[in-house]
């Protein structure tokens, strides 16, 4: 009965190359073992120091978080975000884990954290925070989307008027416009809803068509959608779309400077965050197969010119430790918001998109994650 499958698989297997490289594997294994030995030695050292009541914190050569407007050095206190609590503009939303739905709370610039309540046993998910930190958004089991005004303590629920529950996609830099999307689990095509956060007006964007392989990555202050079109192993294109007619106003083709390559072998582009000016964007470059953020491209949205490629230093190590990763979480006035994960901590770093320098602004417990201002989570 299964002869056809056997034959087909055997036939297909003849296409395979020879991928095994013992020396490369041994080299990687040696690096990992060395890393573990160093970590174990460090752990023993810490235990010894603690036993001697030595108040020493092993920082592995890192500097303390630098004070930066809007970011606390660490999260210190937790309280509940009760209805009518108006804690004020948040710095970011802190999630208790990375790859699944879990507890989340808004964190203020002074480090206080207010936990978003569960709905019965349902945790809040599909989180977002407006670029000014005033509105936090999330969803429970129902299809509607909750928008919490952290300044007034009022909650607005955007009713789902589409094929499925709403999830956030992008904010305009001025924090006025929020794009939400909905689809059924079976469909790969989204329908979009535009919320004017200032007036509360909700508009379903029926004319906007975004095929699979493209994604709404931003919206300008003048309500124009920025749709990124992913191209395998090459730079993406960006369509500027009128939300009312669904027509392309213009298309920006991203281009490397003449004579240079900004994507290396095996790399592809995955995501884009728009700068507060609306004029440039930070684009994530991922190493194929590993889902590892290897670099950030800085592109001019007016001309399409890619002005810089900023490599992230530990990207090579992430191949042997996939949990050690960088993520791009947003783009604020102080630079691109990066999150650096390793087995000891999670750090928020700001990347200056002109100089390429990075500054650690907040250190968080390991295996946590954030939604930055203007950012969204799955």
């Amino acid at each position: 009965m299964n002869t056809a499958i056997r034959e087909a698989l055997a036939d297909l297997a003849t296409d395979a190359g020879r991928y095994a490289d013992a020396e490369a594997a041994v080299h990687t294994a040696r690096r990992r073992r060395t890393g573990r030995a160093v970590a174990a030695t460090a752990a023993v050292l810490v235990l010894a120091l603690l036993a001697g009541s030595a108040a020493l914190v092993l920082r592995r050569g890192r500097s303390d978080p630098a004070p930066t407007a809007g970011y606390p050095a660490a999260v210190t206190v937790s309280a509940r975000l009760d209805p009518a609590t108006a804690p004020g503009n948040a710095a970011f939303i802190l999630r208790g884990c990375r790859f699944r739905v879990c507890d989340a709370g808004v964190v203020l610039p002074d480090g206080r954290r207010f936990m978003i309540q569960m709905d019965g046993t349902v945790l809040p998910h599909s989180l977002t925070l407006s670029p000014d930190g005033r509105y936090a958004g999330w969803r429970y089991a129902g299809p509607g989307y909750h928008l919490y005004d952290l300044v007034t303590g009022t909650v607005r629920v955007v009713a789902a008027d589409g094929p499925g529950p709403l999830r956030p996609m992008a904010w305009s830099p001025d924090g006025r416009w929020l794009v939400l999307a909905a689809s059924t689990p079976e469909s790969l095509i989204y329908t979009y809803t535009l919320v004017d956060v200032r007036t509360g007006q909700v508009q379903r964007l029926d004319a906007v068509r975004v095929p699979y392989g493209e994604r709404v990555a931003g919206i300008t202050n003048s309500r124009h959608l920025l749709v990124i079109r992913y191209e395998p192993l090459s730079l993406p294109g960006v369509r500027v779309v009128d939300p009312d007619s669904g027509l392309d106003l213009r298309t920006v083709t991203l281009q490397a400077p003449p004579g240079s390559f900004v994507l290396r072998t095996g790399e592809s582009v995955r995501g884009m965050v728009v700068a507060p000016c609306g004029c440039t964007a930070a684009i994530s470059v991922m190493r194929r197969g590993y889902e590892i953020l290897a670099a950030v491209l800085i592109a001019d949205l007016a001309t399409g010119a890619v002005n810089a490629r900023i490599d992230l230093p530990d990207a090579l190590r992430a191949e042997s430790h996939p949990e050690w990763q960088w993520d791009v979480r947003g783009h604020g006035p102080h630079g691109v918001v990066l999150v650096r994960h390793d087995d000891a901590s999670t750090e928020i770093e700001l990347l200056n998109d002109v100089t390429g320098t990075r500054t650690v602004v907040t250190r968080l417990p390991a295996e946590t994650d954030i939604v930055a201002r203007g950012g969204v989570s799955e």
Partner: protein, 166 residues
């Protein structure tokens, strides 16, 4: 003593077979290389223990299956489902076209279903061995196999035409 003693010989002897499994699990040369190298690196880290276990090939295979599933869970916007095979495939059922069609149909399967087909019908593992490699029960292997074949039938009926009557 070199802790990797025997590892290079193992890779030399079984590298081709493992490459084929990696290719069938991913359907892509570059991903197959990534998958196999990652599995071999993990195997090398624990080589003395893996060797003592007596089945290093099974260990590498299991790591590949788990890694592949893990990649799939972490994927974001990378994987575009392949087009369903063209109805005209059977009319020109030569080897190359058949290969493309089965590759497309396999690509449309979830990684666990794809893995169970590769382990059962390419590696010729028993249900119990496949369950061990996948880290699941024999019952799960049976149900995954059934679901995978049913889905292949829908995606590529011409490839399994001789089974329809059976």
């Amino acid at each position: 003593m070199d802790r990797y003693q025997g590892f290079r010989e193992f890779v030399t002897a079984r590298g081709t077979a493992l490459s084929r499994t990696a290719y069938l699990l991913t359907g892509d040369h570059q991903l197959a290389q990534d998958l196999l190298q990652q599995a071999l690196a993990r195997t090398a880290v624990h080589w003395p223990r893996v060797l003592a276990g007596g089945n290093p090939e099974g260990y590498v295979r299991r790591v590949m299956v788990n890694e592949r599933t893990s990649w799939w869970r972490r994927r974001r916007y990378t994987e575009v489902p392949g087009d369903p095979p063209s109805p005209a495939v059977e009319d020109q059922a030569d080897s190359a076209v058949r290969r493309i069609a089965i590759a497309r149909a396999l690509r449309a399967l979830p990684p666990r279903q794809r893995a169970v087909l590769v382990l059962r019908f390419f590696e010729d593992l028993t249900e119990a061995q496949a369950a061990d490699a996948l880290g699941c029960s024999v019952g799960t292997v049976k149900s995954q196999t059934h679901d995978a074949i049913a889905r292949l039938r829908r995606l590529a009926p011409q490839l399994l035409a001789e089974e329809v009557g059976s």
